[in-house]
Symmetry: C2
Subunit: 105 residues, 2 copies
DNA sequence: CGATGATATGTCCGATACGACATATGCGTC
DNA sequence: GACGCATATGTCGTATCGGACATATCATCG
């Protein structure tokens, strides 16, 4: 299993088993987490591409800098709802959102 | 505005203005609701295609019949998280989920 | 018309998500 | 090193979500 991805998952609040890696996550859970990571990464891409700070994005979204940081980290406390709503608010189309999700794992 | 769609939105717990239709929903809100409706419809399609009852699906998901009904109705009390998790659990791939979302409104 | 099975609607309450704030870490620049 | 700015992490109170249950609506069949 990829080291950095593992770290991200653990950091995001998921317990990953020692040796058997993903064996503690069901296939659906794993797919769900990866889907979330994809959205989170995309959110950061959008922000960085525009040269925006997390604080600025937070203001646009009516949220806080810490929440934006957690979104980009795909923290366990952020929902897909929040990620999708945020992307839409930042001008990403529904179609683009779908493409990000559909992109092969 | 389409009559049945309007009814679905209202039923789903959204307040839609009288004459100006969508004017009370921002563009992002509208896109978000439609995205949710797409997932909800797809969930129903999957279920019906397999000849499953809501009760059966509820058991598979570890939920209740009423929740499944609300999911398919895109009720305001169901999140995109729940819809996505449910679809994945029912065997739909992440890619398929993305395609459903990306499908042009 | 019952009666049965499927779906829809309404409410409750325990669980979780979210915004907020404080604080920590990092990283240039002086 | 110290300052300023961006990002990360931890926690709290409240709002929303979700499973459960009750009940309602609606077919279909006898």
């Amino acid at each position: 299993m990829d080291k950095t991805k593992r770290t991200r998952l653990e950091t995001a609040g998921w317990r990953v088993g020692d040796a058997p890696d993903f064996l503690e996550l069901t296939a659906e859970e794993a797919a769900f987490v990866e889907l979330k990571l994809a959205l989170a990464d995309y959110l950061r891409d959008i922000r960085v591409q525009h040269g925006w700070t997390q604080t600025y994005v937070a203001r646009v979204l009516g949220s806080s800098q810490s929440r934006v940081a957690k979104m980009e980290a795909a923290d366990a406390s952020v929902s897909v709802d929040l990620l999708v709503k945020s992307l839409l608010t930042l001008g990403v189309s529904r179609k683009q959102v779908g493409q990000v999700i559909a992109r092969a794992a």
